[in-house]
């Protein structure tokens, strides 16, 4: 087979995907109440358009788009609005949300189905994707329609579908590729059409040979990739697949590429073909802290507790609950929080799996430097951040960090490297804003 | 311009006063300093030649071409002839050897008898590292030179018979080499009697 493509740096955390990789996707019915966040996507939260006591149907818009980088929000169920207020969220202490009492899971098709998408212009398609509130399912929840509307001077020649799923434990994308290849392929075609791209390929890590084979059978050009974290990060994926370097501070479109997650492709297919907005997503519920790991198809707004219950409940020893994967996910202190569109996994780690190292001083071993996929010197940026020297941190490339966590993972001293760097990023951005 | 001249003149005035004061003090201290220096040399000459006799007479000896070939400083090798004050017999010589040590030019007062055998050495001036090179001043190290002849007068590492101070070979070498080279220069001028020829 020859040498697999990859990028420089990276690391190999034990992947533990076997816990759930052979569990077929199960559909979890919507719970009694769903709590729909109004900030599902990156960017501005949507404005609520309903109030307490309103009746809503499935797929109805309950929040309106409030800016360019923003999306509308739809109700994943039919029912009654119980309240509209700030509630705990997986990525922040609390945020605006709509609590809906579930009455029906019928309906949802709110737009005209377009079985033959080529009959419509790319602009119409992009508009549909926007109205259907499709955002990236790969983690960052970036509004997909924005990526599909590149500035005219940028010529997009390649679409890469991201089926890498390099985060340990997670298997939802894997199952998705095995179980719904046609939806993905349709979504892919729609995206290519919308972008007017010439090339399209799918990147898959070689720990999923079955998915590679299946996609190849279906005639998709697959780039098999070396198993290495963070192979799925878009800059690394583009580097590996095309040998193009996204300029520092730039976007994939600067090198004529758009990267979309396979789940996003499926959401696009459903929005265009079926006229259904993005209301559900696939979530891997796993970790040694749950009885029987599963891959679930759940409605947005379902509480984590319901997912855990479906996975057989907690085992004796649960130390940590995480929204997302173990490398980049966000720890939660309660399971009474809802699934959002960016929730790719719900992890319950027991005390043996969960990281528990006392932070010591950096011994300058250079492992973080050697493994940083962005070729940064994390130890130095983190030092500057720790001592609040934001300017120097910026000079060292703090803003180029993709927060993959590789550096913290490999650090023998247990330094909270990404954390410091993320803090630096926040401060630098805040300072920039203040100056502007 | 007037302003500038005024400033210049004031500065000049200050300097004038300073110079007057200094000139005055210098005229008082200069002879003392000179005397001091002379006494020190006299004293050193006496010590290094003490074994030659009790009442000695020192006459400076102007020998053409006697430059210290090793000295990094521009000084003539001033050889002083030592003779018995009573009989006037020449008993030996003294001279100052200059050798570049670790951090200074070491000055060694050397006394030789008329056959070219060293009868005494003492360090006149050195600024070597205290505890290392500076130990060259002390007995027993400097005493080693007594009785040595030209060929023996270098450190053991160089094949001679002088034990160097541990950790201070450079100083040891500076002293022994400068002494030897002084002696060699004198030998070239045929100042020694007897067998001390190449």
């Amino acid at each position: 087979m020859g040498k697999l493509k990859s990028f420089a740096g990276g690391t190999h955390p034990p992947d533990r995907k076997h816990l759930s990789s052979d569990k077929a996707i199960e559909r979890l019915p919507a719970p009694e109440t769903v709590c729909v966040s109004l900030c599902q996507q990156l960017g501005a939260p949507s404005e609520p358009t309903v109030k307490k006591g309103d009746k809503v149907s499935r797929g109805q818009e309950i929040g309106s788009q409030s800016g360019f980088i923003s999306l509308p929000t739809h109700s994943p169920v039919g029912g009654t609005v119980l309240k509209v207020e700030d509630m705990p969220m997986p990525h922040r202490r609390s945020g605006p949300a709509v609590l809906i009492k579930t009455e029906t899971e019928e309906g949802g098709q709110v737009f005209e189905p377009w079985p033959e998408f080529r009959e419509h212009s790319p602009e119409e398609i992009v508009e549909r994707i926007k109205l259907a509130a499709v955002c990236g399912m790969g983690g960052a929840s970036f509004p997909t329609y924005v990526k599909l509307s590149p500035p005219p001077e940028k010529n997009i020649d390649t679409l890469i579908l991201n089926g890498v799923e390099c985060e340990p434990y997670l298997t939802a994308d894997h199952r998705l590729m095995l179980e719904h290849p046609d939806d993905i392929i349709l979504g892919m075609e729609i995206l290519v059409y919308a972008l007017g791209a010439e090339n399209v390929m799918m990147g898959i890590e070689m720990n999923k040979p079955d998915a590679v084979e299946l996609m190849r059978e279906k005639g998709v050009e697959v780039v098999p990739l070396k198993v290495k974290y963070p192979q799925g990060a878009e800059k690394q994926l583009i580097d590996a697949a095309l040998g193009r370097e996204v300029p520092a501070g730039g976007l994939p479109l600067d090198v004529g590429v758009v990267v979309q997650n396979v789940g996003t492709a499926k959401a696009v297919a459903e929005a265009v073909r079926d006229g259904v907005p993005s209301l559900r997503r696939l979530v891997t519920v796993t970790g040694l802290g749950v009885e029987s790991p599963v891959n679930l198809d759940v409605a947005v707004g379902t509480p984590f507790s319901a997912l855990i219950e479906k996975a057989g409940g907690y085992r004796e020893d649960v130390a940590r609950l995480i929204n997302g994967g173990p490398m980049m996910g966000i720890a939660q202190y309660t399971d009474e929080i809802p699934v959002v569109k960016g929730t790719s996994g719900v992890l319950a780690l027991n005390s043996h799996e969960a990281r528990d190292v006392a932070e010591g001083p950096c011994i300058r071993c250079g492992k973080c430097t050697d493994s940083c996929p962005m070729k940064l010197v994390p130890s130095r940026i983190a030092r500057f951040a720790e001592y609040e020297k934001w300017e120097q941190a910026e000079k060292q490339g703090a803003l180029d960090c993709i927060a993959c966590g590789t550096c913290s993972y490999v650090c023998p001293a247990g330094r909270y490297l990404v954390h410091y760097i993320k803090r630096a990023q926040e401060m630098i951005r805040a300072l920039r804003k203040r100056e502007a | 311009m007037g302003e500038i001249l005024r400033l210049g003149l004031i500065l000049m005035l200050v300097a004038l006063v300073a110079a007057v004061a200094l000139g005055f003090v210098n005229s008082k201290t200069a002879p003392i300093i000179e005397e001091q220096e002379r006494m020190r040399r006299q004293e050193a000459m006496r010590t290094v030649t003490s074994s030659l006799g009790d009442s000695l007479q020192f006459d400076s000896l102007a020998v053409e071409g006697l430059a210290n070939p090793y000295a990094m400083v521009d000084r003539r090798l001033a050889v002083v002839a030592v003779s018995d004050a009573v009989s006037g017999d020449r008993l030996g010589y003294t001279f100052v050897a200059y050798g570049k040590g670790y951090s200074s030019t070491v000055q060694t007062m050397v006394g030789v008898d008329s056959s070219g055998r060293i009868v005494g050495c003492s360090i006149l001036y050195q600024q070597e590292t205290p505890g290392l090179g500076a130990n060259a001043e002390n007995q027993p190290w400097i005493g080693q030179f007594e009785g040595k002849r030209i060929s023996q007068c270098s450190v053991r590492k160089d094949g001679g018979e002088i034990d160097s101070i541990t950790g201070a070979t450079i100083t040891s070498r500076a002293v022994s080499d400068s002494v030897r080279e002084g002696l060699e220069a004198m030998r070239e001028q045929d100042l020694f009697e007897g067998g001390e020829r190449a």
Binding site: K389 | N26, D74
Partner: protein, 214 residues
Amino acid sequence: MSASMLMAAVLASPDTGGGGVNVAKMMAIILGAIFINNFVLSRFLGICPFLGVSKQLDSAVGMGAAVIFVMTLATLGSWLVYHLLLVPMELTYLRTIAFILIIASLVQLVEMILQKFSPALYSALGIYLPLITTNCAILGMAVLNIDERYGLGESLVHAVSAGIGFTLALVLMAGIRERLETADVPPALRGLPITFIIAGAMSLAFFGFAGLGG
């Protein structure tokens, strides 16, 4: 002062008196001044700017360049005055006072000239000039050259090398201090104390050069 007299004086200076330049001796002077008898780390000259201007690399480099420059100029001036004026008139005891005056005014003059004719160079070096006036490295250099009986050529080489040695120590120190900005130095030792300790450690490491070229 006539040109021929100057020539005569320079020619009569010890190093050129023989035949040509003594390469080995020059080498010894250069290595000695940069590494072995480094002005700051072993001779204790110029400690104040060494402590003061080693906080940032940029200013350390500027300061170093300025020192090399002034050191050379001052050496030239003081050597000439000493050998052409003070020695013939037997006024060598005035050397301290004469040297310091020469250095002070030279620096001012250079500052003025730079500011007038090369603002770029002035902004790079000029700001360091005043600091150098009362830097004992410069006066020390002038006095050392006399004590060591260096000729004019040797003195100049000595000055440039010592300036380079000073710059080397200063730049290394600045790099280290910048790194220590983000180190967990015990509060009591932060600032000057740790700077002294580093200087000590540097000086200890420079012992490694002992004996080079000697």
